[in-house]
């Protein structure tokens, strides 16, 4: 029981009462204490499981997932988180037309939620749409709950949208907290969030945006680098600036991978599509202009091809602090000579960081479980202790 003390004593000092019955849509909508509560509960759940104590808090209930884009990692992470807490993951495979319009969305959201405790949504392809869709669903089920249609109100968890990817970046952050030995150790640490070349195109912006929006909050020196034209949403840059000012950190922008990597403690080189292009693409899809989409694709691949030198090479890694910055990636990476001819990262670099990369990914199920836990449990410290005293083994 004593191993939980370190987590419950942290929770007792944090203020996160607003998370109860809340959603998790953007990290910058959450207070610092709330972010810390997620890390703390995630760690506690992991320790419980490691000690063969089941953290199952639900005897029944559904965890509905809506994937408007393909997913393996996040799908399994969501299924794992639901399973760990006792919910049954149930995928809603929407016909696109069925939930296209406002009123019908309200109906569908209620129809799938009669016994849903959580709804996880991935909708990351269209600028201005994904996060908005999540809010529409949240509004619909809240209204349903208030009007007596739904006995319980499912909490919304953003499994990646056009703006943020909170379950990814929170997992990333928990990884670096563990790596550097505590959140206090991150103060002043430099992280290079840089664009990298990929032979594919149209990758979502949610990871770089999520990283600069989250990591600027803890006094880190966040350097965003990309070729000209690969800007991210300016609103998120504003968030990053404000965060850095408040936390005593820094938010720097450049068009130089070299500058970003210089003396960096952490590097996160990853491809993404230019915001302007993603916006144009959204409009083209809106107009069913498939010729336009094809020619945009060609244009973007051409544009990309001009930046093949944005690769995370051994030489670049040598310029980081001590030559051994922590390399991050949300996976799968485009590895030069392995999954593509030329890509985001040299094979030898990737290989050296394989184990930490897998560990980075391993935090996601716990982060999602913690988000659900905090939305459903009024007094998490007490319930965590009760789970220990209940003593239900995960494996008999």
């Amino acid at each position: 029981m004593s191993f939980l003390k370190q987590y419950t004593s942290v929770l007792e000092k944090l203020n996160f009462t607003d998370m109860f019955a809340g959603d998790f849509l953007l990290t910058w909508e959450k207070e610092r204490d709330e972010i810390l509560a997620v890390f703390t509960v995630a760690d506690a759940l992991r320790r419980l499981r490691e000690n063969n104590i089941s953290p199952r808090i639900f005897d029944s209930g559904l965890g509905v997932s809506i994937f408007r884009d393909q997913s393996t990692r996040t799908r399994f992470s969501f299924a794992s988180a639901c399973n760990l807490l006792g919910l049954t993951a149930q995928d809603f495979d929407e016909g696109k037309s069925q939930v296209a319009h406002g009123e019908t969305l309200r109906e569908t959201a209620n129809m799938i939620s009669f016994m849903a405790d959580v709804i996880g949504i991935r909708d990351d392809m269209y600028i201005g749409k994904g996060n908005a869709y999540m809010r529409d669903v949240s509004r619909a089920v809240r209204q349903g709950h208030n009007e007596g249609v739904l006995e319980q109100c499912p909490t919304l968890v953003n499994l990646q949208c056009d703006i943020d990817h909170p379950t990814q970046t929170m997992a990333d952050m928990n990884h670096i907290i563990q790596h550097f030995g505590g959140i206090d150790k991150l103060k002043g640490k430099k992280i290079a969030m840089t664009w990298a070349y990929s032979p594919s195109y149209g990758k979502p912006l949610s990871v770089p945006q999520g990283v600069i929006g989250l990591m600027t909050r803890f006094g880190m020196d966040v350097h965003l680098a990309h070729p000209e034209g690969y800007e991210v949403m300016s609103e998120v840059e504003e968030v990053a600036k404000k965060n850095a000012a408040q936390s005593g950190g820094k938010f720097t922008k450049s068009n130089s991978m070299k500058d970003a990597f210089a003396d960096a403690d952490i590097v996160y080189p990853k491809s993404w599509a230019p915001f302007a292009a993603m916006k144009k693409r959204t409009d083209l899809y809106g107009n069913n202009d498939f010729d336009g989409i094809k020619s945009l694709e060609k244009e973007l691949l051409n544009e990309n091809a001009g930046h093949r030198d944005w690769e995370c090479t051994e030489d670049l890694m040598k310029t980081t602090r001590g030559g051994n910055a922590l390399y991050l990636h949300c996976l799968p990476a485009d590895i030069s000579g392995v999954s593509c001819k030329e890509g985001e990262v040299a094979a030898s670099v990737f290989d050296r960081y394989r184990v930490p990369l897998y560990k980075q990914a391993s935090y996601k199920p716990y982060i999602i479980a913690a988000m659900i836990f905090l939305a459903k449990i009024k007094d998490p410290a007490e319930i965590l202790s009760n789970l220990v005293s209940r003593g239900q083994k995960r494996c008999f």
Copy 2:
């Protein structure tokens, strides 16, 4: 515990012993007491869940679903019901050819049932086939159980067939019982089950048939209205007539939406395909006559188009009792100006009834759970009480 008393005391007065180890295929095969037992158990399960008491009766077991037609609402209702009781929903995605012939159906039914406690089937497209298929599956697993192949015998639940849609109409009925304050209050109430215009075609007949087959049993004044040519199965009309005679209610038919709506307490305007056309379509599919199907489709849409005035408008609603009959629909509705240009119901009418409509739908998971409960539990009143004394929380 006391809140359960009202349900267990009702159950003690009802005779439903034949439901144990039985199927639920057509409401009119069930005695009045059996129908009432389903409502009572459904309500009791709902109250347990609302009071955070888990009604989970299975520690393991599968709930197999076979959907031979698309479904969102019923799929989630079935999954929710299984989950609530502790069963894992497992969809069987049959290759059409695999179970086409008698003997192979017997085999497949057994192969998927080694650990199945319930099989839910939707098969509503072909006249003379859907319900027959369910009975074949039921026969196969009963035989398997008797011969020692299956340790337990899965109960069959009709999730919509060519004849009836019992989980829908039982949910509808539970909704109006709650709305009017008790089943005794329904005596003499007029319900208008009417056809309504839709720009699509070929909608199943199971809802209107199910409604006239069920609601005539409780002394209601059931008025079935549709344009000439949109007849439902004559066998079910016979059932409705007999029911009305026995229950002291009425069963009226007309070709006038106006007559049906006049002074109605409840209206259920909904599109369906003519029985004769559905039968012809079944034959065409049987002969793989795809040209024939196309031309039938055209013919039906033309036929439909002649009845655009069969719309549930504000003016029609004004003619109902007090101008505020309870509007029902199994959803999704074809809403004029919202989901189609001209449809079953005016947007303002639909919008006014949105909350009660969603509540109507919310009964379905509990109705399905009650059907399973009554087929699996010999003494439901006792087990419901035991669930309360067990005190397992749904959410810890």
Copy 3:
């Protein structure tokens, strides 16, 4: 409680310590005691369930399945086994390209395993690939576990590969053990594992190979018969020879169905593709030579057509011991005049053995559950007893 004694007392005399934390890939990699432990635990789990005692040992956890070939029976068996033990079956629907290369396989295997206790794989189509793929996945997750990426190490269960089909043949064997009244009764019994005609082609070799590899271990007289050209893998024939020598049994080969059936106690007539053809096909697929595949298909069907007389007829059955050998099949069978014009077995023979055939299939979920149980539980005899004393009912 006493009914478990017969199983726990057997387990106490067997040595199967190496099964803990192990995989189940080929029966001939397992010691005799280990094979017997699987049968014993499978029987014990079945008795627990029959006595309404839940053998659930997991409070949470995933059972990941990867089906690289279609499946109904094994899919439901795996889902049932997972469900019985408390695991949630989660299918991984891989994009073929995603896991094609070594490094990416390692990554994917880890990404889907953060909370997986078992991974079941079917990969039976390509010679030299399926079993190798399973070993790659096993290696990847073991490494992940050793490096601290995975808290628990999922056990691999072979749900059919190019070499063996252990969950099928172990179920077959458990069936004949029960039929003849004990494993000791099998000594000297003759089993005819024979090829049979089918109008389809390219059926996997895993069943005949699995049968001769397993059933030669218990002193049986195993007769493998097929037309010339329908050889199975020579490595497995070597295994069968060695087994027979060690167990005091026999392994005979012939090109005569008649010789095989003569005085047989058990017959297992079933179609398969020639090993050489399957190998050629694997190479053609490797080269994307689709014309080559088509012409090979034609060639194989022609070849097959020359052996229409390899049918399990009533006349042949009369030549077996007492005219009533036990007829086995892994199902579905190609039944002459029922599922095809001419096939593996006469309709009247199949029909007479329908009930035993279904029972044969009913062992598979328990065999899979036993394989998982033995890989996850250090002291199965003790835990089985504890399950009884825990007294958790499967159905409340």
